[in-house]
Symmetry: C2
Subunit: 330 residues, 2 copies
């Protein structure tokens, strides 16, 4: 009997202690779990995770940008523009997306005319696709991309200023060509510019897209673009158009804000009339604008909603080119 009684207190005490401490431990684990859920999501600018970090030794990669220029059938314009753009301040590297299938790139000639201020990489494509320029090129080391059409000349002043604006708005597409969509009573959207009716938010006009053919945006969005629904790629391939509208949808969805910030260019020119190739660019096709309205509606279907938002902010450079471009009657 004594034997029983000896063991009992130990076991009982042990069991009670065990129960008590188990409860305490479980409570603490639940608290810890709750706290972990409250931790901020460690993400820098609410931007997509960059798989590629800039190399630590190239400090410049953080304060510079990569120019991506896709080219088709206008090599004379390409080379003229490369001479101009290769010297833009804060340019880190140029990536030429070579859509001239089967044709040799001008790399040899380029090298023979060196040295050049920055490296230029010719990316030979296997199929002539509009969305080739939206690949997540391994050569990208900078946080920013400057994307330019191969017939668009923007002054260095404009580009330097717009880059500084992008650095203040890194989650937006900061560029020189604003466009908008409007809604109609039937629910069908239409795409256009100033010629369309204002969306009706107060006076003045609004824009809901900034075209990527002359704009800065975060490199992370190229990575993000690789993860879109297949139907988006099919749409762009079907129309050979609308990759820029798709990018605006992507950015607007990601930020919940207007996708673009419009910087009013002082000097922007279209050089297509200067080409010897006789090729005049996709936007001359009769169906070009109708296609873009079509794309807006298709993308709304694909993304199950209209993510584009309106903005009426127009940014210019203070005191440039006129040193007092802000003076008034006061």
């Amino acid at each position: 009997r004594y034997f029983h009684l000896c063991k009992l207190p130990g076991r009982v005490m042990g069991i009670r202690l065990l129960r008590f401490t188990s409860v305490v431990i479980i409570v603490l684990l639940l608290v810890a779990g709750a706290l972990t859920a409250l931790l901020p999501n460690i993400k820098d600018d609410k931007l997509p995770n960059l798989r590629r970090e800039p190399k630590p030794q190239s400090q410049s990669a953080l304060d510079s940008f990569t120019l991506i220029m896709q080219t088709y059938n206008r090599t004379d314009l390409l080379l003229k523009l490369l001479n101009h753009y290769q010297a833009i301040p804060n340019l880190h590297k140029v990536i030429v997306v070579w859509n001239n299938i089967g044709e040799k790139t001008p790399e040899e000639m380029w090298n023979s005319l060196g040295p050049h201020p920055v490296p230029v990489v010719f990316k030979v494509q296997s199929v002539n696709r509009m969305r080739n320029r939206l690949q997540n090129f391994p050569e990208l080391e900078t946080k920013a991309v400057l994307m330019m059409d191969d017939d668009t000349l923007v002054s260095a002043h404009d580009l330097a200023f717009a880059f500084s604006v992008w650095q203040q708005f890194p989650e937006h597409i900061v560029g020189f060509v604003p466009r908008k969509h409007i809604s109609t009573p039937s629910g069908v959207y239409s795409y256009g510019s100033f010629e369309l009716q204002n969306p009706g938010f107060g006076n003045g006009d609004q824009y809901s897209m900034v075209l990527i053919g002359a704009a800065f945006f975060h490199t992370g969005y190229l990575e993000d673009f690789q993860r879109q629904p297949e139907a988006v790629y099919a749409l762009i391939d079907e129309t050979q158009n609308c990759d820029d509208i798709a990018m605006n949808f992507l950015v607007a969805k990601h930020t919940g804000k207007p996708s673009g910030v419009f910087v009013k260019p002082v000097d922007i020119r279209n050089l297509e009339k200067d080409t010897n190739s006789g090729y005049s660019g996709m936007w001359h096709r009769a169906e070009h604008l109708l296609q873009r309205s079509y794309c807006v509606n298709k993308l709304v279907n694909i993304y199950d909603g209209m993510p584009l938002k309106y903005s009426n902010i127009m940014i210019s450079q203070f005191g440039f080119p006129n040193y007092a471009n802000h003076k008034n009657k006061m």
Copy 2:
């Protein structure tokens, strides 16, 4: 001997279990403590804590602003401007800071000419001080303040647009009058506008202040202003000037960014020539600008450093007043 052995296992087991679970509990508490430290600091726009929350029933107080107009010896202009400003969209209330010491306010006449779109409060002052307008008035219910000089007429379009811009940049002074400081080799600062040399950051000009005599800013900064070094109040009282420079110092220190965002006004007018009072405003004093340079240097002393930062962002309204004010040669 058996007796001893009976008790022993219980005690030993109990002690070991106790030790083990104590260690586990301590570890969990440390983990919980670490997680708590990582929790985000719950603060809205990095703005000073607003003691005054807008009354829950006035939803409009969140999307509207309070006009604060200080007035001295220009009651005719005041009343003309009140007729204009009382109808601005999103205006919640007007606070008139009555610096005409010993003189009756026009409140009776104002009431006899009612009803009015918004309440107007006349705050009688005991001393004619420039910084009277920077009090933390208990009548303030909105997050935003619009501060206007009593001789400045800004169009409703400009104000409506600038308010929408402020809502996107709530920690900045968003207004229509940009100014800058420049540094000289001697280390002495000078105050001015476009007539001064550019600070030399790239091409174009820069501004480092936006004057509060025609600007929106967060109500919390008025509260913040009450907590400045005594020397700041002494400086403003001594010069009857520079309260706006002091506010820009305050905001720049608080944000670590340029204090202001400049919105280019379409229609801003100075009405002082229209007054019957013959009073022409402080800025006509011979020493006015020299005083302001003096203030910049004094404030750098008081704050032990120069917190003002430069910006060259100039914001205009897209498509207003010209529906295609963004068109270019493209």
